[in-house]
């Protein structure tokens, strides 16, 4: 693996993804289509959304789905479809931002910790392992309570939850690389520490990165939705699926099913998209990981 360059590896990875690969290929493609649809919705939200998501009384209160409002209106007479379209923007921004931050922090800390070793490594690993032992949601709740509402606080809460995953992955890789012979050999011919990392460690990790990222994204979408659902998410003016779902419970017993069902369905669909993509990749690239 180590002597393959990254582009080569990606093409070899892509060549393995095709519908002919059976169910796994199908999983990947369906997952990708779902995720791309949501990304498309998020980017073109201003064009796609028929109404202002925050404008109240664009229709009646609790109008059931009809030709004017395909998904009905909510308790304030806002168009649910428009809120869903704008909501995809919120979810994807927070998800991608927290993924980028957590992978950057996790990878950096993992590299340093694994490379430096000693007491520093022990202490940091212990801390990360304890974070990891916590249920992600409970940890996110604790952080969100302290940090308050808003896009950035929520993003930071999610970031902290996922840092340990990357940290553990990279640190483990660094440690095993440190042991292995070809690094010894590279040291002997005078490769510097940084070259070692980029030349040998990253290529070994790269194949699992898309898997970890997409499974993580799936989890992040759920955790964000849960925070919003529990009232720890975003301020009221930002359309947010989790919060809309919470509000949808209000008139449930009056058989008003649409205000909760649609936003919730989006949460599940987007999560499913990321999971299908990640699981499919995992089974093709790393059959040992998830067992045939």
């Amino acid at each position: 693996m180590a002597n393959l360059t990254a582009p080569k590896m990606i093409t070899s990875m892509l060549s393995k993804i095709s519908p002919r690969r059976g169910v796994e290929g199908l999983f990947i493609i369906v997952g990708l289509v779902i995720v791309l649809t949501f990304i498309f919705m998020a980017i073109f939200a201003p064009v796609l959304a028929p109404y202002d998501p925050n404008k109240t009384r664009v229709g009646g209160l609790y109008e059931s789905p009809n030709s004017k409002f395909p998904m009905g209106t909510d308790r304030l007479g806002r168009d649910i479809l428009s809120r869903i379209i704008w909501g995809s923007r919120t979810v994807l921004i927070v998800t991608f931002l927290s993924m980028a931050l957590s992978s950057a922090c996790g990878v950096t800390l993992g590299l340093i910790s694994g490379y430096v070793g000693g007491k520093f490594d022990t202490a940091l690993s212990l801390f990360m392992d304890s974070l990891y032992a916590f249920p992600g949601l409970i940890l996110a709740i604790a952080l969100a309570v302290m940090l308050g509402q808003g896009i950035m606080p929520v993003t930071v809460s999610l970031t902290v939850v996922y840092v340990p995953i990357y940290f553990r992955m990279i640190r483990g890789e660094v440690l095993s690389m440190k042991e292995s012979l070809f690094v010894e050999a590279a040291k002997a011919i005078g490769a510097k520490g940084r070259t070692l990392i980029f030349k040998y460690i990253f290529p070994n990790v790269i194949p699992s990165i898309p898997i970890v990222l997409s499974l993580n994204a799936a989890d992040a979408v759920l955790t964000l939705a849960a925070l919003s659902f529990l009232g720890l998410g975003l301020p009221a003016h930002i359309p947010d699926w989790g919060f809309d779902l919470r509000m949808g419970y209000g008139a449930l017993t009056a058989k008003i099913w649409w205000p909760g069902t649609f936003p919730g369905l989006m949460i599940v669909l987007l999560t499913l998209g990321f999971s299908l993509f990640g699981e499919g990749l995992a089974e093709i690239l790393n059959p040992k990981l998830s067992g045939r």
Binding site: F127, I138, V145, G291
Partner: protein, 336 residues
């Protein structure tokens, strides 16, 4: 047998530093991430009020003193007092809500394992056939379920439209059993209260199914993977050659061996169970720890939130201890 006892004692001793580290992490997260008082009051309160509460919580002292106080209090099982209403001891309030969580957890956990193991075995025996693919998809879908949404759908179908099952709470107040253990199903049985028993079970069904299906996916895959491995192993082939009935081979030999990694996962899954319980309880207004946490979050009741998280951390350490001990009893290779 003595080595077994030594192992268990060592394992118990080992969980003390584990707990200490986890509790320290809770402290770090809750103090470093922000100021509890401004988080609670939203930053708009008068300075004098903020100062008063800081003093009351001991937050005016240096951080290391706060840390020592925190640990000392925990050592005395003191989680502080709630910051709203009667300012009752947090531990009392948690323990009041704990049986409801325990009841839901036991029932959902059992349901998820039965469902997961059953689908996993089914899938493994039909490897790479359509039923197998369908079950693998099921495994991925359960992983993607958002509990509040799934709960909402079940409430709509079975509660609102069909009217078969109640959609919130633990019991009809008129039929609630006399409390002995706090587990309503058990209490109803102990007090021979048949209507109470039926009522408690009816309330338990939807939350159990919601949380149970969410948790079952991981057991489905794990059972499938390990059953596939084990069904190809020598001792299964040998068992077939001895003419044992297929049922004995699958359930007595293969499943028992596949169950060891499943048990390991059960310990790890406990954290997920707790997180899932918070959402399930909120969804179904199930008056357990999770619902309690949700209520106090909306008041930003700092001591209660901290106390609940400490309680959960302790539970996690405790469960991993119990799982490790059960493990020894199941796998004779560790026992000797």
């Amino acid at each position: 047998m003595t080595s077994l006892r030594v192992y268990i004692i060592r394992r118990i001793l080992l969980s003390i530093p584990m707990l200490l580290i986890l509790l320290s992490v809770v402290f770090v997260v809750l103090r470093v991430a922000g100021d509890p008082v401004s988080a609670m009051l939203g930053g708009h309160a008068p300075i004098s009020e903020i100062e008063r509460i800081r003093k009351q919580l001991g937050l005016d002292k240096p951080l290391y003193i706060q840390y020592l106080n925190y640990l000392m209090n925990l050592a005395h099982f003191d989680l502080g007092r709630s910051m709203i209403w009667g300012q009752r001891p947090v531990l009392d309030e948690i323990l009041e809500h704990f049986p409801a969580t325990l009841e839901l957890s036991i029932s959902a956990f059992t349901f998820s394992i039965l469902l997961g193991v059953f689908t996993g075995v089914f899938s493994a025996r039909r490897r790479n056939k359509p039923a197998d693919h369908a079950i693998r998809l099921y495994g991925i879908i359960t992983y993607s379920i958002f509990i509040p949404w799934f709960g909402l759908v079940l409430q709509l179908i079975f509660g609102v439209y069909l009217g078969w099952l109640p959609i919130s709470g633990r019991s009809d107040p008129r039929m609630a059993p006399e409390i002995i253990t706090g587990l309503y199903v058990l209490d109803s049985i102990l007090t021979m209260n048949l209507p109470g028993l039926i009522d408690s079970i009816r309330h338990l069904i939807l939350p159990t199914v919601t949380l149970g299906i969410y948790l079952s996916g991981i057991y489905t895959r794990l059972t499938r993977t390990h059953m596939i491995d084990i069904l190809q192993s020598d001792f299964i082939r040998a068992a077939r050659a001895r003419g044992l009935p297929e049922r004995t081979i699958i359930y007595k030999h293969a499943l028992k061996n596949a169950f060891i990694p499943i048990l390991t996962m059960m310990g790890l899954q406990f954290a997920l169970l707790l997180a899932g319980a918070v959402l399930t309880e909120t969804t179904f207004s199930w008056p357990g720890m999770g619902y309690f946490l949700y209520e106090r979050i909306s008041y930003r009741d700092f001591t209660t939130i901290q106390g609940t998280i400490v309680f959960i951390a302790t539970l996690i350490v405790l469960i991993s201890l119990i799982v490790d001990i059960i493990y020894v009893y199941i796998d004779p290779r560790i026992r000797y």
